[in-house]
């Protein structure tokens, strides 16, 4: 079947109205759409079909069946066997969903606390009305006194907020919105920005996820190789990639190449495992490119016709010889040759990159150097290679983007908190590192209020969290919206807003570009919880007036009208989407050849030269390096030999654990039982050297601070490197006991709040430390 035959237009699909105007993206043929129901009766239960998003958080939207008993209670859940995304499977996190929904610790009502009582358990339950009154009064006071830019709108990851927070920033007229206190905006932003400069869009591995008939689709080809780079996909399920899709590819003949300091399951099942020293990924990519060019294994057609700056690049990679880089990465040289040859000789291969690439100071360039390899091998827009991720059906909130044009705002009148970093200046994002300095009075910019929605920075990603706690505890006003009383809420919030779990709400899927789906409400809202987007819209009514809405929003938040509005260009209505649960847009490869990538309809990529830019004209114009390069992490055995006597080991942090999503999941018994304590993985030779036995509590320490975790002695980690858990707090402990003991085992005590030279990139996986028995 051809692409054409495989993609039907919307009108031919059952139950779809043509509500949107303008050009409508055709939908893929969906054989079960006509008969698919969103609810039915089964064995005494009412079943509601939906997408698992959010809260709790995840980067995926698995198809889920929610079983509701006679009393309207969520009894249990199962994966939806009809859903192409997860094909009936749910992981352990969603399987414990009812335990989260009905957990005794959930906060079900808005709360307030006197500013003088921050950190103390002196909460008072209030109505939403009062909560909003306080928010309005305090935020307007900050706006008037210091300017709206003094309000920081901070989200975390994996919850249904990334697409909506830019709306809130518009509503509050502040230019400062981002992932607050994640040093160097160090999750995807460094990779995304540097590679967008090179190719204009974001591309991800092709595991058939864009096709409704998945692995059986005749246009799809399984990748010859998946290069797993600084990622543990089966555990992490990061960035809208369900890691086990790669296992399905393996069954169909895909081989793996894994680059990781730890022997993960994927590493053990790889043809080549390159156990690099943390933070050296970019050097490895440059050396692999060196081999591919030197042995003339690159894709001449793609490089000649569709790339820019190859000569400069060729010159640039000459010095990055495998001999030199083997020493930098601390791996055998022959592995670099073999892995590079494998890629040079492969037909299709996919890059499965992870956040490790961002987690070295100059991590801004690590993703770029990996993309250069993809370009050399002509993998973009190729079956079994890398596929272009544009928001499906042009609904920006479902992927990377927002829908803000309808919100009048003054945010552009204020310079954002870029901290004088060149990359941040350009992308309009605040520097979390400079934000902390501003809070501490070390950088001249007013930071007086924080809106933290799905953001548990003190327990999870905030580096040097005690500095952050102190800074936020001294500002004028803080709001936290979450499922639980988190350490962050306990320490700094003046107002706490309770969020719904996904069975309690409607909405649109997000965090992936393959399709658009509906979050379907299955049970009554518990307590007085509200969804994340609802609160954003209601803040809009308060700050900009009800006239703001291009839809008729009555007295109360009109969910259906809101989601209809967001879907206005998709060709279908919210009601259509709800009843079909998912919709896949047409899928094509090689769109850069047919003029379907660039906005002007010309062939090529969305870059100034229209080509893939080995040499980035834009980066150069912004005063940054135009070619990807490698630089030692600021604290490594090579850059800081003077520290080695005191801190002889390399510290990498944040490896994902089964069952947890960052700081979530610690209060869910079946998940906690799998990984009950914070763990640091130590090689047996290092453990022996420092007198540590398996299961000992150890102190991990460096010049920034220290914390306590339990030793797991395991040959899987590279000798000389220790790998420590992140995200730990102890919900079972007293709220006032160090905010659920969150600083006790918090590995970020040992991580500096300091970005790379561009303002992006950070040091979560590349500092030095010592270990000793506690």
């Amino acid at each position: 079947m051809t692409d054409q035959e495989n993609n039907e237009t919307i009108g031919q699909n059952a139950g779809l109205g043509m509500s949107g105007g303008g050009k409508v993206v055709p939908m893929q043929n969906d054989p079960t759409a006509a008969t698919r129901k969103d609810t039915w009766e089964e064995d005494g239960f009412t079943v509601v079909r939906g997408n698992a998003r959010t809260a709790p958080g995840c980067h995926d939207n698995c198809g889920i069946l929610m079983y509701i008993d006679k009393d309207g209670k969520l009894d249990h859940v199962e994966g939806d066997p009809d859903d192409p995304y997860n094909q009936g499977r749910l992981c352990l996190r969603c399987l414990t969903l009812p335990d989260v929904v009905y957990h005794k610790d959930r906060q079900l009502h808005p709360l307030k606390r006197d500013r003088a009582d921050r950190g103390k358990d002196k909460w008072e339950q209030i109505t939403w009305e009062e909560a909003y009154e306080i928010c309005e009064r305090e935020l307007r006071a900050v706006q008037e006194k210091y300017g709206p830019q003094a309000i920081q709108v901070f989200c975390g990851t994996g919850r249904d907020i990334v697409g909506y927070h830019p709306m809130l920033a518009n509503i509050l007229d502040t230019p400062n919105q981002g992932m607050g206190f994640l040093s160097g905006q160090g999750c995807y932003v460094p990779r995304m920005f540097s590679t967008t400069m090179k190719i204009g869009n974001l591309y991800t591995g092709d595991y058939s996820q864009n096709w409704i008939d998945r692995y059986d689709n005749p246009n799809w080809v399984r990748p010859d190789y998946v290069v797993i780079w600084g990622n543990n996909p089966v555990v992490a399920n990061s960035d809208g990639t369900l890691g086990h899709w790669i296992v399905e590819c393996m069954k169909r003949g895909t081989k793996l190449i894994t680059i990781d300091p730890k022997l993960t399951w994927c590493a053990a099942h790889s043809e080549y495992w390159l156990q690099v020293r943390p933070g050296t990924d970019s050097a490895l990519a440059l050396a692999m490119a060196h081999v591919i060019v030197e042995e003339d294994l690159y894709d001449h057609e793609f490089v000649d016709c569709w790339c820019y700056g190859f000569e400069e690049y060729q010159e640039h990679i000459k010095d990055w010889t495998p001999t030199r880089v083997a020493e930098i990465c601390d791996i055998d040289e022959d592995l670099i040759w073999s892995a590079a040859r494998a890629l040079g000789n492969a037909d299709g291969w996919a890059l499965q990159w992870g956040v490790a690439l961002d987690h070295t100071a100059e991590g801004f360039y690590s993703g770029a150097s990996c993309y250069d390899l993809c370009a050399l091998c002509g993998q973009f827009d190729k079956p079994g290679g890398m596929v272009c991720g544009k928001p499906s059906f042009g609904v920006p909130v479902t992927w990377i983007g927002s829908d803000t044009d309808w919100i009048p705002t003054k945010r552009n009148q204020y310079e954002h908190l870029h901290g004088d970093y060149p990359a941040l200046r350009v992308i309009g994002m605040p520097s979390p590192d400079a934000t902390l300095e501003a809070l501490e009075g070390k950088y001249d910019y007013p930071v007086k209020a924080a809106w933290l929605q799905t953001n548990n920075c003190l327990a999870n990603m905030g580096a040097q969290p005690q500095r952050i706690a102190k800074g936020l505890m001294e500002d004028d006003f803080n709001v936290v919206m979450d499922l639980w009383m988190t350490p962050t809420a306990m320490a700094v919030a003046d107002v706490f807003l309770p969020v719904t779990t996904f069975p309690e709400r409607f909405g649109l899927t997000g965090h992936q570009p393959y399709r658009t789906g509906a979050i379907n409400k299955a049970i009554d809202t518990i307590g007085e919880c509200r969804s994340d987007p609802q609160v954003v819209v209601e803040m809009g009514r308060i700050f900009k007036g009800a006239d703001l809405f291009p839809w008729s929003d009555g007295e109360h938040f009109d969910e259906e009208a809101f989601y209809d509005y967001l879907l206005r260009n998709s060709g279908f209505t919210w009601d259509d989407l709800k009843s079909r649960t998912w919709a896949y847009p047409e899928m094509k490869y090689y769109r850069y050849k047919t003029g379907e990538i660039r906005d002007d309809g010309e062939p090529g990529f969305s870059t100034p030269t229209g080509r893939y830019e080995f040499y980035s004209v834009n980066l150069e114009a912004m005063g940054m390096r135009p070619l990807a390069f490698y630089e030692e992490p600021p604290e490594s055995p090579i850059s800081r030999p003077d520290l080695l006597e005191k801190y002889p080991l390399t510290l990498t942090t944040g490896a994902r654990q089964w069952g947890f999503f960052h700081s979530e999941g610690r209060q869910v018994p079946h998940l906690r039982a799998i990984h009950p304590e914070p763990e640091v993985t130590i090689h047996p030779a290092d453990a022996e050297k420092y007198g540590i036995a398996d299961g000992d509590w150890v102190i991990i320490e460096n010049q920034y601070g220290s914390c306590k975790q339990k030793a797991k002695i395991d040959i899987r980690i590279k000798q000389g490197v220790v790998s420590a858990d992140h995200g730990w707090w102890f919900p079972e402990r007293d709220r006032e006991d160090g905010f659920f003991g969150t600083f006790e085992s918090n590995i970020n005590n040992c991580i500096p709040m300091r970005p790379g030279s561009t303002g992006l990139g950070c040091s979560y996986k590349s500092v030095l430390c010592s270990i000793r028995k506690a």
């Binding site: 992981c91 414990t96 555990v235």
Partner: protein, 107 residues
């Protein structure tokens, strides 16, 4: 005849999903299992060749999801297995699925 469980443990990633799926299905606390993971390795059996594998083993609490199979559904662990490498069914049917070198059959 009692149903069997087949695992293609070449692809089992040790994700714990079968354990939790079963605990939820049978209503077990976290310290009781109807199926439980075992681990082999990591062991460098030859230079650069690692054995690091998992095999879930059903316990005496496992009832082979008789009620689900009766209703035409897959066993809870099998349906949710993240790697799609676990099946519950008649021995004959399962034996027919063995097409590789790392299968474990529990009868």
């Amino acid at each position: 005849m009692k149903k069997a469980i087949l695992i293609d443990y070449k692809y089992c990633t040790g994700c714990h999903t079968c354990e939790v799926a079963c605990q939820k299905h049978l209503g077990l606390e976290p310290d009781k299992w109807g199926i439980k993971l075992t681990q082999i390795g990591p062991d460098e059996v030859a230079p650069r060749q690692w054995q690091y594998e998992f095999v879930p083993v059903p316990t005496d609490r496992c009832n082979r999801c008789a009620d689900r199979l009766e209703r035409g559904k897959q066993a809870m662990c099998a349906q949710h297995c993240q790697a799609g490498c676990l099946w519950v069914g008649d021995i004959d049917e399962l034996v027919g699925r063995i097409d590789g070198d790392k299968f474990a059959l529990f009868v």
